[in-house]
Structures are given as C-alpha cells and as structure tokens.
C-alpha cells in the first residue's frame, strides 16, 4: 500500500540529492549507504542501481526488503519508502536508460568504464510516507497554482512545424520555438554523418559562436550516447554527477576537436533527444541550461514530441527534394576566378576531409560536395549546381538520397559562411546551389 502517491515524488527521483538505502542482514545488523540512482517506474515500483555496495545486495538477497529515504531537490522534503525486491534486469529499456545516464556522468570525467552498470533492481513500493519536517531550516515557496501547459505548447509548436516548407527553416525555427515556448536559451541540432559514427552541428542558438560542423563522436558525452543508444538522456544536476564520479576516478581530458563545439559556462542541466524517423537516426536535439532542474519529466515528454516532429519533417523535406523535378540550370560561368589572392584546397579522399590552406573545413559528404563544386569550377568555370545532378552523380560516392543531402548542403553552406571565405555557397532558389569563390583555388588531392 502506497500512502503518498509516487507520482507526487517525481522530483525526488531526479538524482539532485542522493538517496539513502538501509537493509538488515540475517543476524539483525543494519547496513546503510547512499545510492547513486533511484528512478520512478510506475505508481507502485521504483528501480535502483546499486553497483558498488555488495552488503546491501547481499542483505536484499537474504531478506527481499530495503528501506529508502529520498529528498525532493526542489522542496527539501523527505520521504521514506518501504521496498520489496521483485527482480533484477540486465537489459531492456529501464536498464538502458540508467546505464546511458551513468555512462554520461562517467564521461564527464573521461572515465567511461568506471561506473559500468551490471544490473538494475526493480522494487515494489509497499509504503511511502513523508518525513514530517519538525523544524525546517527553510520552507519552500508555494508551488504555482497553475502549472505550465506543456502539452498545449507542444501542440502549438507542432502546428507551426506543419506550416514549414523547407529543412533550413525547420532547423532554425525549432530552436527559436524552443526558446519562445519553453524558455530554452541554449540549444542545437546535430546531424548524423553518413557512416553513423559522428554527429555534426548544423543549427545552434544561444551560444557565443554557432560552431557549424563541430563534431561529436557516437558514444561520447550526452549527445554521443543519446545517438548511440537512441535514447533521451536528461541530467537534472550535473554537479551531482561530477562529484559522484570524481570519487571513483580522476578527471580525464576531453578529446581535441577540430571545430570548437559551442558551449556555455557551467551548464547545470542538459537534455539530448535522438531525432528518429522511419526507424533511422537523423541526429540529436540538444538543450542545456545554467540552472539546475531546468528540464522536468514533463519537459522531456514535450521535447520528445518535438524531436519526433523535427525528425519527420527533415525526412519529408528530403524525400520531397529527391522526388522534385526542379530543372537543372545551365551551368553559369563566373568571372571572379582571378580576383583575390590564391589559396590551396586540400582534399583527403579517404574521409572526404577538406582543408583550406592548413585549416580544417569539413569532412564526410559535405567535404566531398565542396571538393566536387570547386573541381567542376576549375575545370569548366561552372558556379551553378543543382541537388538533382548531385544525386545522380555516382562519382561523388554519395549515400542514398535518404541520407539527407539537403541538410548536408545546409551544413556545408553554414560552415563556409561561419568560416568567412574564400569559398561560400548560396542557395539562389530551391534545389539550386551557387558557388562563390574569392581568389584562385589550387586543388591538392592528398
């Protein structure tokens, strides 16, 4: 029998304040420790991860019982939960979610193997009681009488998505709407590359620089793990995770990046949502805040609706572009070829990497496209290209059309724009690409 409904305790399961677990051995000696993870499962169950404390595990195995105290990180209220062990799980969605969360926390310190989760334990909640505050040091302000209507905001946002007609608008407006409707000040969208090993930033909002083309490897950090596991990951209080992990491992160094990822100082909350449509991962929607607790369970649910809409929208625009019959324009010649000073454009065929002089520009499909445009320009003087001819050109070694040509062109154009020349792309009209070059390029194939 649960006296206090578990649904009212959702904020106590955010990992903001450590929970406490007590058990008793068969001889009657109690044992008490902190616990890294308690999560709500349903109205009568919680799930615990207890990968370190073998005495707790042994006592639960013997008695089947445990007592838990959880703290609401927003109000400071505590509750006691009497638990009965039901089963251990080594796989499945609940296991994967907690495992992914622990991996993200470990990754914050560069020690991804230190907290490897072996199993999670599902417990039935027999009773849930409030620890009446007898002399609280501070009392929480009254919660607002009317809570935000996140479902309504999500519906309003998806209605606006439905009116959009191209991928670029969808990418930018979705981040803008996250701010307007949900107060998210820092967000970005990253696209999966053609090999499914990395993600590249294609849209960002609320950072000192855009960071177009900045990469995250699959499995690296909250974004990489969300992509790799195809799971939403939300961290309510990053300091907690960092402190817990630093007890286990020394901090490690993050990998070097060729384009600086847009960052904010001291993020306290982060959420990463996989963008999946037609069963395929298109990328990740990421948001963060300098405030702890910025994203609630309800925010997560609302953002998941939006992420599904963004993924579906990108897939639809890609299909529309691939099946469109925008005519190929006649190649245009450009007179600017001798203007400005020359530069070297180095191309690495094995990964599509492009450098201008000694500076990294981009790799993968966008890199191959850039090389193609510049090469055609040098050979024929052409500056106008079309999506359609690119899709047909097998020499480009492009993945199938469904692999987001349009969003990769957006990424390439934005990267070149943020870089500031001497090569730029313009989109004079739908399905068309115009190359702008200042100076004489010299192609070097490495």
């Amino acid at each position: 029998m649960t006296n206090v409904p578990l649904e009212t305790l959702r904020d106590s399961f955010e990992g903001i304040m450590p929970s406490v677990i007590a058990t008793t051995d068969p001889a009657g000696m109690p044992n008490i420790s902190y616990l890294s993870h308690v999560q709500y499962v349903d109205s009568s169950h919680v799930v615990l991860s207890n990968q370190f404390f073998s005495k707790t595990a042994a006592n639960v195995k013997a008695s089947g019982r445990a007592t838990l105290v959880v703290i609401d990180g927003r109000t400071g209220l505590q509750h006691v939960l009497d638990l009965t062990f039901e089963r251990s799980m080594r796989e499945g969605e609940i296991f994967e979610r907690i495992s992914a969360h622990l991996d993200v926390m470990a990754g914050l310190q560069g020690k991804s193997d230190m907290l490897k989760l072996k199993a999670v334990d599902i417990y039935k909640v027999e009773s849930c009681r409030c620890v009446e505050p007898v002399a609280p040091l501070q009392t929480a302000p009254q919660a607002p009488a009317v809570s935000r209507n996140l479902l309504g905001e999500a519906a309003a946002t998806t209605r606006l998505f439905s009116e959009m007609t191209d991928a670029e608008t969808l990418l930018d407006r979705s981040l803008e709407l996250l701010e307007q409707k949900f107060g998210v000040l820092h967000s970005m969208i990253l696209l999966t590359n053609e090999t499914g090993s990395k993600l590249s930033t294609v849209a960002s909002r609320g950072y000192p620089h855009f960071g177009f083309g900045a990469e995250v490897a699959f499995g690296d950090g909250i974004v990489g793990i969300a992509a790799q596991r195809r799971l939403t990951i939300r961290i309510a209080d990053m300091r907690r995770g960092q402190r817990y992990v630093s007890a286990v491992a020394e901090a490690g160094r993050p990998p070097q990046e060729e384009i600086a990822m847009p960052v904010i100082d001291q993020p306290q909350s982060q959420i990463a949502l996989p963008l999946i449509a037609n069963g395929r991962l298109a990328g990740v929607l990421f948001a963060e805040s300098t405030e702890s607790f910025a994203f609630s369970h309800d925010d997560e649910a609302a953002f998941e609706i939006l992420a599904a809409q963004i993924a579906a929208g990108l897939a639809i625009f890609e299909l529309a572009d691939a099946s469109s019959d925008y005519s190929d324009q006649h190649p245009a010649l450009d007179g600017s070829i001798h203007q400005g000073k020359g530069f070297r454009l180095r191309f690495f065929p094995h990964d599509g990497g492009v450098f201008i002089d000694n500076d990294y520009v981009i790799r993968g499909v966008p890199g191959r496209l850039l090389f193609h445009f510049v090469q055609a320009y040098l050979q024929t003087g052409r500056t106008e290209f079309s999506n359609r001819e690119i899709r047909r050109d097998r020499s480009l070694n492009l993945p199938e059309f469904k692999d987001n040509l349009e969003t990769r062109l957006i990424l390439l154009r934005r990267r070149l724009e943020e870089r500031g020349g001497p090569v730029r792309l313009e989109r004079p009209e739908r399905g068309q690409i115009r190359l702008r070059i200042e100076g004489m390029p010299r192609l070097v194939i490495e």
Binding site: Y34, T67, I71, V131, L137, A247
Partner: protein, 157 residues
C-alpha cells in the same frame, strides 16, 4: 576501545551522517545525524540526531539494539560505515546541542559550495528534540564508491 585518530577525527569532521536501526521484524529504519564524535574516555561513538524528526528510527534505538552509521565527506564521497550495539540513548546535553548547532552552521556553507542549497537541506539537518545515541564501534567499513567499497577496515572483538 580506541579508534585510530584519523577515523575518530573523521567522524567529528564536516561529514554527512546517515544511520539505520531495525525493528523486531528486521525492517530497517533510517535517521540522519546532526553531528557526531568519538568519546575517547568511554570508547563510544556518540551520534546526535533529532528524535522528533526520525521517530521510527528512534523507536528502535534502544540499549542493546544494533546500529549502523555512515559518515561521508561531501566533497570527495570518502565514506566510513561504523556498526555496533547501542549503549545508551539520552536527551542531548547543552554542550551537545551547541555542537549540533555548530555542525549545522559549518555544513550549510560547505554544502552550498557544492551546489546544495539551504532549502534542499532544510529537513536534512534537524536538531529538534536532539538525542545522543552512544554505541561501541565494533566494525568499520570503507564505503567510498569504488572497488574497495564495503571492505572491512577492521573488526573488533
């Protein structure tokens, strides 16, 4: 019985304190400490806790009953669990109440520095109806998260 100086000083340092007793059915009950120290003369650990805040815990905290107390340094998660049998449970002396007040005064800024605010700790540190639980430390265990968690530091008697 003597504790190593480092352990004795750890118990009375700026550490979070959680404790458990158990009832006749062996169900565990949780309480929180509001300061603790090692009484060298008596050889006892003295745990200070609010009897009104943790009534279920105190209902089982009687002479002869087993108790487990874990002390955790918040900045490092370094932790030691001490287990033993309760010798005595009495209302705190004025000196002990002052110790508990000092403990709260010291812990709040320490925790604030770690990003945990006063509201979040508003019912964690309670000194209402403060009582002193004395117990003889029979077992000590390292409980810092990591591979050695749960290993006994020593067993006495």
């Amino acid at each position: 019985m003597e504790l190593e100086d480092s352990v004795a000083s750890f118990l009375s340092s700026k550490v979070m304190i959680i404790a458990a007793t158990r009832d006749q059915t062996l169900k565990a009950h949780i309480g929180r400490g509001c300061g603790a120290f090692f009484d060298n003369d008596a050889g006892d650990v003295v745990l200070l806790s609010s009897a009104s805040q943790w009534p279920e815990f105190f209902a089982c905290a009687v002479k002869g009953a087993p108790i487990a107390v874990t002390f955790v340094e918040p900045s490092s998660y370094k932790a030691i669990q001490v287990k033993g049998q309760i010798n005595q449970v009495v209302p705190a002396t004025s000196e002990q109440r002052e110790r508990a007040a000092r403990y709260i005064e010291q812990m709040l800024p320490l925790m604030a520095g770690l990003g945990v605010n006063r509201l979040q700790l508003s019912t964690v540190f309670a000194d209402d109806a403060l009582a002193a639980i004395r117990f003889w430390p029979a077992d000590l265990f390292v409980q810092t998260p990591g591979p050695s968690a749960g290993e006994p530091m020593r067993r006495i008697g």
